[in-house]
């Protein structure tokens, strides 16, 4: 072997060694405390705020050290891969839509008995709002604890209302009143409103409302007295008179009444940005959104209008936290889980616990939302969320791709699309 070859060989071997050894190895942790990994989807601000909470908890605890592992993008991909390989974090955030599927696959720890035996304030199940807690249960067993409730609220540009001399939304508002006000607030370049002669829907300067699949069409169907999945999970009555009426009203706001912008405009200008820029007067968003204190105008969250069936079901999204069924330290993980759940309940608006979801408590948590809190607390009493089952992801994909999306884009009426999609949706209910 020549000296050049020897040098090449040594270089090659060294590189292999550097790759394999030098870069390997994880961070060590103080031996006295058990490391508890927490997987989250937190973005930059949320992750920094959460880290402060974790630092406090870790400082107080003698048993655990919670380490945050945030994946703001492709969170589900990472979570599912790691859980499938039995290498998932000890604790993980979970959206309501995944609970039945994960629980049925045995990757979430059954917390029922541990909760009963615990005296921790976060373990009192009767303190949680019923519809919220339901989303964290599967077959009557507790698999996660919720840490946030997000009823849909109607954020309203008060300056615009004052300028147009329109009274603010109140509990008497129904769909008719909502549409009437949305029309009054929609104006084209020539100052015409949708019912005026000469109104130009292609040159609207400001819209009364906006939607792009959010808020979910299901909310309007429920308010019209319809449903998309029956209570017994045996049928999908999307073609009922009520469901069709609710869904059609939803999209007519764009295509018939012209009080909401077409999707192409929303894509160009940004969904909530249009509200913040004053191009949209009313916006339905989650209770925790910053739309009632961030914009440069006076803005307030009100309860959404009630539908023709008399209810004002506000779509509720529940975020929760679960313990990995395969955690190597179930006791310590459960202890950290309860402490962290309680700490998050004192951070996020709206807390899922009745004892914490009071106006006084919320003012303390989010003083900048003080003017909206009466409505937010009130909205908590009239919430509803999706009916979720283990095969929900497939159902949801069909519902969105073959019903909601074409409906919003004007590629069919609610009646036509409902007839077509119903058998496909019902088929997913039968798959175990």
């Amino acid at each position: 072997m020549s000296s050049r070859e020897r040098r090449l060989f040594v270089l090659f071997a060294s590189l292999l060694l550097v790759s394999a050894l030098l870069i390997g190895g994880g961070a060590g942790l103080a031996a006295s405390k058990t490391k508890i990994r927490l997987a989250t989807w937190a973005g930059v601000d949320e992750a920094n705020e959460l880290q402060e909470i974790l630092d406090n908890l870790n400082a107080k605890s003698t048993t655990y050290e919670i380490v945050q592992e945030s994946s703001p993008a492709e969170y589900d991909t990472k979570l599912i891969t790691t859980l499938a390989a039995e290498a998932g974090a000890d604790l993980y955030w979970i959206g309501q839509e995944n609970v039945p599927s994960f629980a049925s696959r045995g990757v979430m720890m059954d917390l029922t008995d541990r909760m009963k035996a615990s005296k921790h304030p976060a373990a009192k199940l009767d303190d949680y709002f019923g519809p919220t807690m339901e989303r964290m249960m599967y077959q009557d067993k507790v698999y996660a604890l919720p840490w946030i409730n997000q009823p849909v609220m109607m954020f309203t540009n008060l300056d615009l209302f004052d300028r147009e001399k329109i009274a603010y939304p109140d509990e008497t508002w129904d769909w008719d009143k909502f549409l009437e006000v949305a029309k009054a607030l929609t104006v084209d370049k020539n100052g015409h409103h949708p019912d005026d002669a000469g109104f130009d829907p292609d040159n609207v300067e400001r819209w009364g409302f906006t939607l792009n699949g959010w808020p979910p069409v299901q909310m309007f169907i429920w308010q019209a007295g319809g449903d998309v999945i029956s209570e017994d999970f045996k049928s999908c009555p999307v073609d009922s008179k009520e469901a069709v009426f609710g869904a059609q009203f939803y999209v007519d706001l764009i295509h018939k009444h012209h009080v909401a912008p077409p999707l192409s405009i929303i894509r160009d200008r940004g969904f909530d940005t249009m509200y913040k820029n004053g191009q949209v007067a009313m916006f339905m968003g989650g209770a925790a959104d910053d739309l009632d204190y961030k914009p440069d105008f006076r803005s307030q969250a009100f309860m959404i209008p009630k539908g023709p069936s008399g209810n004002r079901y506000s779509f509720l999204w529940v975020g929760g936290m679960a313990v990995n069924a395969k955690t190597k330290n179930p006791d310590v993980a459960f202890e950290a889980f309860l402490d962290l759940s309680d700490a998050i309940h004192h951070w996020k608006v709206v807390p899922p616990r009745k004892s914490l979801a009071t106006k006084e408590m919320l003012v303390e948590l989010k003083p900048e939302k003080k003017h909206s809190l009466d409505a937010i607390v009130e909205a908590m009493n009239d919430t509803r969320s999706f009916r979720i089952f283990p095969n929900y992801a497939e159902w949801d994909s069909i519902f969105w791709d073959q019903y909601a999306d074409p409906l919003i884009n004007g590629r069919g009426t609610a009646e036509e699309l409902a007839k077509r999609v119903k058998p496909l949706l019902e088929k997913t209910l039968t798959i175990k």
Partner: protein
Amino acid sequence: MSRETVTSPGRLTPRRRRRVKRRLSKIIAYVVVTVGAVVLLVPFFWMVTTSLKDLNEVFAYPPKWIPKPPQWSNYQDAWQAVPFGRYLTNTTFITILGVLAEVTSSTLVAYGFSRYWFPGRDVLFFVLLATMMLPFHVTLIPTYMIWKNLKLLDTFDPMILPAWTAWGPFYVFLLRQFFMGIPRDLEEAATIDGANVMQTFTHVMLPQVKPAILSVAVFAFKGYWNNFLGPLLYLNSMEKYTLTLGMYFFMGGVHEAPKWHWLMAMSTVFALPMLVIFFVAQRHFVEGISLTGIKG
């Protein structure tokens, strides 16, 4: 008197007509290329200008192409909001080792496939190429479990070590085509001069495929620099994250609006090394991907 002067006005001589035709086709070509360049540059321009906008200006209507005043502080704010210094070090580390491994292993394997015959060689080569057709979803969990069993999760190893096994079939294919275009006479001459296999490979063959090696290096650099899925799955500790993962912190989430201005600021910074490398290596790179054999 030239021929042009005797022709009646309005009528062109064939020579002049040819010149006009040439000029016209040149103009058309320039217009087409310019339009194409503008179309391709608009997103880049938007990225840079957005990186200098205030968040409220990002979706302003009518759109503001030039931010006034430019928010240079976006770069500093974004850089400090997430530990990008750390992430840059991690990314650079993975990229340098990965590219080195990729180039070394692909070159060796490609040379073997192009010059040595052994039973099942062609079948093996087709199997190698066929792995390009496998969707990553199929191998995602099994691969992840291998690294888990090797106890190498949350390390950079899963991103770098496989590169030593010539895991890029496209690179092997590209280099093999190059090697196959080199006349065997060169190797035979080297052998007659007393060179052994390694000497022939390093002294004779490698210099011949430099453009291809450079192309592979640029492709591999791009792949490692932009790699998202690998770091997402294999890295847990946030201090080990890479730039791509770091940037996603600005994409917002369930309870957070996206910070487009910061995202674009970091995207601009993130794209710079790629641009520099492309422009520096452009000549060889283009040559590498356009040639399929030895230069005459």
